[in-house]
Every structure is written in structure tokens, then in C-alpha cells.
């Protein structure tokens, strides 16, 4: 029998890929019986869905004006280079 600490690692691994079916079943069984691991799994899944949309948590971050200017200048150079080439 695996302990909670080992189950936690397997739960994490399963977010990023499949586990062999026997291990998958063992994890499922454990989660049915163990409140803490069950909650941990829910919380991990929630974190993962937030991570997948992480840009939405940074809405207020924008390019600074000087950076924009600098980038614009380098783009202008390329584009004028292209149109004459």
C-alpha cells in the first residue's frame, strides 16, 4: 500500500500524463477512502485550470512606452528593408 505522500506524487504525475491502469486504480481507491488526498486532488485540478489560463491573472501588465517605442523602431527598420528588397 502506498502512503499519502506517494499518492500525492502520482496525482501530480497524472495531471501531465497517463498512469499505468493498475496504479491509476490504486490512486482512485485511495482517493475514495482518504479525505485529505481527495481534497488535495481537487485543489491541484483547480490550480491546473488556473495555470492554463494564467494570462488572465496578469491583465494589468502591459509593455512600457519606451519598450514599445524601441520595438516599433526595430520593426520599422525591417519593414522598410523588406519593401525595398
Amino acid at each position: 500500500m502506498r502512503n499519502c505522500q506517494q499518492i500525492v506524487d502520482l496525482v501530480s504525475q497524472e495531471i501531465d500524463g497517463k498512469l499505468p491502469w493498475k496504479i491509476h486504480l490504486e490512486v482512485k481507491m485511495h482517493l475514495v477512502l482518504c479525505n485529505n488526498c481527495h481534497r488535495y486532488t481537487n485543489q491541484l485540478n483547480f490550480m491546473q485550470s488556473e495555470l492554463n489560463n494564467i494570462e488572465q491573472h496578469l491583465n494589468s501588465v502591459v509593455l512600457s512606452e519606451p519598450a514599445k517605442k524601441r520595438i516599433q523602431q526595430s520593426l520599422n527598420l525591417t519593414q522598410s528593408g523588406n519593401s525595398h528588397g
Binding site: 502512503n3 499519502c4 505522500q5 506517494q6 500525492v8 506524487d9 496525482v11 501530480s12 504525475q13 495531471i15 501531465d16 479525505n35 485529505n36 488526498c37 481534497r39 488535495y40 481537487n42 485543489q43 491541484l44 483547480f46 490550480m47 491546473q48 488556473e50 495555470l51 492554463n52 494564467i54 494570462e55 488572465q56 491573472h57 496578469l58 491583465n59 501588465v61 502591459v62 509593455l63 512600457s64 519598450a67 514599445k68 524601441r70 520595438i71 516599433q72 526595430s74 520593426l75 525591417t78 519593414q79 523588406n82
Partner: protein, 187 residues
């Protein structure tokens, strides 16, 4: 033909690309450079754009490649600094010696209102920024971008798949713990 032309890209997508890059490379200067490189590549390969996806999706695709290149270039920096990942420290709070929970986890109430959501975003960003660099990189590359295992190992200097999985799991334990104490336990 689409009506969109590269002249408006910086205004239309610059901030989006910048956010995307900044989260992954954590340096404003590097993120700005990546935006610039991405737009330049986009302009150069504009002819090849098929119109099958939106321009923003296409540009983010280019940016992803640039970010991985960035990690490749800075690979040597990772191998020397994983000391702050100490698994024992992270796990000691949570598990006893037999590997059973020492704490009782409380179900999270997910943020509902708009204000709630904003505060949650702040806590979420805070907790991510507190992760050790390599752990955050691993989370982004492997778990969000689905960069193949072998490449993640090479980029971040892991010796085995197992070491990578265990570190990823520790990263989540750490992030969970931070969110739990900074957001969900506020009341």
C-alpha cells in the same frame, strides 16, 4: 487575404505577447526582447501564414519557440541553483515520517465575484513568483506548454524522468501550500 497587416501587430498583440513571455522568463528586459523577436519573425514569415488560426494564436506559437530557444541559451544557469528546492523542507510541513498528512486540508471556495477574482489573481501571481526559478520553469514548460520530457530534462538539467516528476509534484505541493495560506485561509 486577411485585412490585418503587420503594422498594427504591436498595438494589437504586443501586451498579450509580453504577458505571455514575462510569466515564463520572469525578466522584463528578456520578455521585451522576446516580443520584438516574435514580431520580427512574424513579419518575415507573414507570407506563410495560412489563416487557419487567428493571428494572435499564430504569433503566440512563434513566441513559444522563442521562449524554448531562450531556455536553451540559458540552460547552464539552471544546473547550479536548485538548492532552494529542498524536498524535505517542503514536505515536512505537510507529511509525517510515515508519509501521512499532518494537516487537515480544507475544501477551497473558488473565487466567484469580480473583486474576489482580482484578489485571487494577485495571490496566485504572488505564489508563483515565490517558487524557486527552476520549479516555476518546470511548471510552465512541462505542465502548461507540454514540452516533451526529454527536452524538459535537457533544458532544466534533470538527471532522470523520475527526478523531474518528483520535482513537479513538490512544486505543486509548494504552490498549493502558498495559495492555501495566502488566499483560502484568509477569513
Amino acid at each position: 487575404m486577411t485585412q490585418q497587416s503587420p503594422e498594427t501587430w504591436l498595438n494589437d498583440y504586443g501586451d498579450l505577447l509580453y504577458r505571455y513571455a514575462l510569466l515564463r522568463v520572469r525578466s522584463e528586459t528578456n520578455a521585451e526582447d522576446l516580443v520584438q523577436e516574435t514580431l520580427l519573425s512574424g513579419i518575415q514569415s507573414w507570407e506563410k501564414f495560412s489563416g487557419k488560426s487567428s493571428v494572435s494564436t499564430w504569433l503566440v506559437g512563434i513566441l513559444k519557440h522563442k521562449i524554448i530557444d531562450h531556455f536553451r541559451k540559458h540552460r547552464h544557469e539552471f544546473n547550479s541553483q536548485p538548492s532552494d528546492e529542498s524536498a524535505e523542507d517542503i514536505l515536512a510541513y505537510q507529511f509525517d515520517k510515515q508519509g501521512h498528512w499532518q494537516v487537515n486540508l480544507v475544501e477551497w471556495q473558488t473565487p466567484d465575484s469580480h473583486i474576489n477574482q482580482q484578489e485571487f489573481s494577485a495571490a496566485f501571481n504572488h505564489c508563483i513568483s515565490r517558487l524557486p526559478q527552476r520549479m516555476a520553469d518546470l511548471l510552465f514548460l512541462r505542465s502548461i506548454e507540454n514540452v516533451p520530457m526529454q527536452e524538459c530534462r535537457d533544458l532544466l538539467g534533470f538527471e532522470s524522468d523520475n527526478q523531474l516528476w518528483v520535482t513537479l509534484s513538490r512544486t505543486r505541493v509548494k504552490l498549493r501550500q502558498c495559495l492555501d495560506s495566502n488566499w483560502f485561509e484568509r477569513e
